[in-house]
């Protein structure tokens, strides 16, 4: 199984959890069942053909790998978005999409005997990997508990609200969901909103943790939302002495912060070890390593091409390259030489890079 291969999967369900989002349910043929196993929190890299062009996007799996037989992702409509509008308006049951096996370093490894407290933070469609983690913890583990802080715009945009309500009833001692709405609707079919208002700001993080002190002392924190929210929640948690290694972040949408300073890019001879396959490339000044790999039809792994998803990650073993933007790697990884090739501009004339 190649790390960059796409497999055609049939769409067997198209549902609308809220007005402007669509849940795609995929069927996995039995010979691919093992390859498509995943940890809750991981994503699918999916190839779409929209308006005659190929477009790749990563969507987190919201299905539970331990209890759901079918794979599910949920795509929220983005204004002007090429793929999200296609999914919400045109994708039909019976269509086939090319999908890579699940990937991603944002995931929870749950164990039946574990005793942990999970603090989950999600905003909008960021609920998708979080929902997979939440279901996995409740169904697989006997003793772990979950606290979810979930931010949305208004009552009508809460993806999976009904399922969350049901789970809270089913697991009253182990699941607590706190909703917050930034712009709750006043005139609505439902009762007036009596819950929290606003977004998830640092003082809200402090309130959330202080009001739900963990029982199991092995606490893990998972955050998924727009980049700015992720960073501010992470900062608030670290400010409360939460050990960094317990915080896990996945970025969804939001503007990517460009790294400061100019990069002194140079023409470079780049040796690439692409999962065992050698490629010798000439990367002209200003072009990224991924761009050149694509032009050479080497079939490198990639998806968002914005430094967010992490699919194009590789390691620099000789020479240097710098990234235009970097959301998917943390400081330790960058220090080790990891690099996002879609953002990487060589800054030395001879560079060696390995994809493994």
């Amino acid at each position: 199984m190649s790390a960059t291969q796409f497999y055609p999967l049939k769409v067997v369900g198209i549902d609308k959890p809220i007005k402007h989002a669509t849940t795609i349910t995929f069927e996995v043929p039995s010979q691919l069942e093992e390859a498509f196993q995943f940890y809750p929190g991981q994503y699918l890299n999916i190839k779409f053909r929209v308006k005659g062009k190929e477009a790749r996007r990563c969507y987190s799996l919201n299905s539970c790998p331990y209890t759901d037989q079918l794979l599910q992702v949920t795509v929220k409509r983005v204004k002007g978005g090429l793929v999200s509008n296609y999914v919400n308006d045109q994708l039909k049951v019976g269509d086939t999409l090319d999908v890579m096996v699940p990937d991603g370093r944002f995931y929870a490894s749950v164990d039946k005997e574990e005793y942990k407290t999970y603090f989950l933070f999600a905003a909008g469609s960021g609920i998708t990997p979080i929902f997979s983690i939440l279901q996995s913890v409740l169904t697989v583990t006997t003793y772990s508990s979950v606290y979810l802080f979930y931010g949305n715009k208004n009552q009508n945009t809460i993806i999976f609200k009904e399922k969350l309500d049901e789970l809270e009833k089913q697991y009253p001692q182990r699941l607590k969901v706190v909703h917050t709405l930034s712009e709750p609707k006043v005139w609505t079919v439902w009762k007036q909103w009596k819950g929290r208002k606003g977004r998830i700001d640092p003082k809200d993080v402090e309130w959330f943790i202080s009001n739900h002190p963990p029982t199991a002392q092995d606490a893990q924190y998972f955050i998924c939302g727009p980049g700015s929210m992720n960073l501010s929640i992470r900062k608030a948690l670290i400010g409360m002495d939460v050990p960094e290694e317990r915080i896990h972040i996945e970025q969804f949408g939001g503007a990517v912060e460009a790294l400061s300073g100019d990069i002194n890019a140079v023409d470079a001879e780049v040796s690439v070890n692409l999962f065992g396959q050698p490629h010798e490339l000439f990367v002209p000044k200003g072009q990224t390593i991924l761009e050149v790999l694509k032009e050479a039809k080497a079939d490198p792994p990639y998806s968002c091409e914005s430094g967010v998803c992490g699919s194009c990650m590789a390691k620099v073993v000789k020479g240097k390259a710098e990234m235009k933007a970097c959301m998917a790697l943390d400081d330790d990884e960058v220090a080790e030489g990891m690099i996002l090739t879609c953002q990487a501009l060589p800054t030395e004339a001879k560079v060696e890079v390995i994809f493994e």
């Binding site: 943790i209 029982t215 002392q217 606490a219 948690l237 409360m240 002495d241 939460v242 050990p243």
Partner: protein, 380 residues
């Protein structure tokens, strides 16, 4: 029943080994979760030869460290405290943050020029919360607490201790002149319930007791005596515990190895902690929690209970003599037990001491407990 030799209850050598091999290597009760409220608050616990501090961090998580300065071993914190921002050693003011990291050493530049502060942290211990209680283990790689207590939960009461309220008047601390194992053997002895406590624990039906061992832990349940059950509204001393429906009603009295007993009844939830001080001296701490109730509910119920008790349940004291100091005339089952334990300890000194036989079923618990201790002691 020579499973444990006499010197297991009398020798300093055996005692010291127990402190190392059992108390230094198992989960110990440290307190109730409400004992540490705010970040910066802490308590300390003695586990065998090691004193351990448990502090609440700013992230509301508990962290446990050995109460030992990394400099020259001075004890850092005393007993309990509130709102520490940092931990400063009284001897030379070396300071650690609430994560245990060394952050300040006075005159470092001149006196410790090569010391790398960020590589020095307090020795970590393990801490976790189970059944509304804080538990501590001296090793940072302790086995999971749910694994340690695996299988026990289903034999414990339906109570949610975190919901119950501590009743400060019931807190009891006493140093008993007996080995800690004598005290536990008394706690788990089923045979004596109908005899030593014939007039003080007759509200439970000992003949129907169900008991056994789950791993190293002892579990026990007995139903209410018919007379008590049929007159429960009048006789129950405090407000009935909400989770204690007719389906579950009874007394759940386990012993969690090595040093914590619980007594979970229809109206009370009590911890009974045993702290060995010497081969023939043990401190016992008892704390009880009750169903939340108003002062009015408390007074009316306890008055009703006291007024009706002996009329319906009969009995008062084991022996009806008039000597006020005789524990057998105290009407207090704990005093009866303390007496029995201290007498047993004294008897161990008599070279004629021996055990002729033990009750097949109702003292099997004592034999099993001794086997557990023996097994732990043989690990070294």
């Amino acid at each position: 029943m020579p499973i444990l030799p006499v010197h297991a209850y009398t020798s300093q050598e055996w005692f010291d080994k127990e402190q190392r091999v059992i108390f230094g290597n198992t989960w110990q009760f440290a307190g109730l979760i409400e004992d540490i409220q705010e970040p910066g608050d802490y308590i300390t616990v003695q586990c065998g030869n090691q004193n351990i501090m448990v502090l609440k961090g700013r992230d509301q998580r508990l962290r446990a460290f050995h109460n030992l300065c990394r400099h020259r071993g001075t004890q850092l914190l005393r007993a309990v405290g509130k709102k520490q921002k940092a931990i400063t050693c009284p001897y030379h003011d070396w300071t650690y943050n609430l994560k245990g990291e060394l952050v300040s050493v006075p005159e470092k530049e001149t006196e410790f020029p090569d010391l790398e502060l960020d590589k020095i942290c307090l020795h970590k211990a393990s801490v976790d919360v189970w059944r509304g209680m804080i538990w501590v283990h001296p090793r940072p790689d302790a086995p999971s607490i749910v694994k340690w207590f695996e299988g026990c939960e289903e034999h414990l009461g339906p109570h949610d201790p975190t919901r119950l309220v501590e009743y400060p008047d019931s807190t009891y601390e006493k140093v008993i002149h007996a080995n800690w194992k004598i005290i536990i053997e008394n706690y788990i002895d089923v045979y004596h319930l109908a005899h030593l406590h014939s007039n003080t624990l007759q509200m439970y039906d000992h003949a129907k007791a169900q008991y056994g061992f789950v791993g190293d832990h002892y579990v026990f349940w007995e139903p209410l005596a018919e007379k008590y059950l049929n007159n429960l509204d009048k006789l129950i001393p405090f407000k009935r515990i909400a989770e204690m429906t007719d389906e579950y009603i009874g007394a759940y009295v386990p012993w969690l190895f090595p040093s914590l007993g619980l007594s979970e009844t229809e109206s009370t939830w009590t911890i009974f902690q045993v702290i060995p001080l010497a081969p023939d001296k043990t401190k016992v701490i008892v704390r009880a929690k009750l169903e939340p109730m108003t002062n009015w509910e408390y007074y009316t119920q306890s008055t009703k209970s006291m007024a009706s008790w002996h009329g319906i349940m009969g009995g008062k004291t084991k022996y009806g003599n008039t000597d006020p100091d005789d524990p057998m005339a105290s009407g207090d089952f704990m005093a009866e037990d303390v007496f029995a334990c201290e007498q047993q300890q004294k008897s161990l000194k008599n070279p004629l001491f021996s055990v002729v036989a033990t009750a097949k079923h109702q003292e099997s618990t004592v034999r099993s407990f001794q086997k557990v201790v023996k097994r732990w002691m043989e690990q070294e």
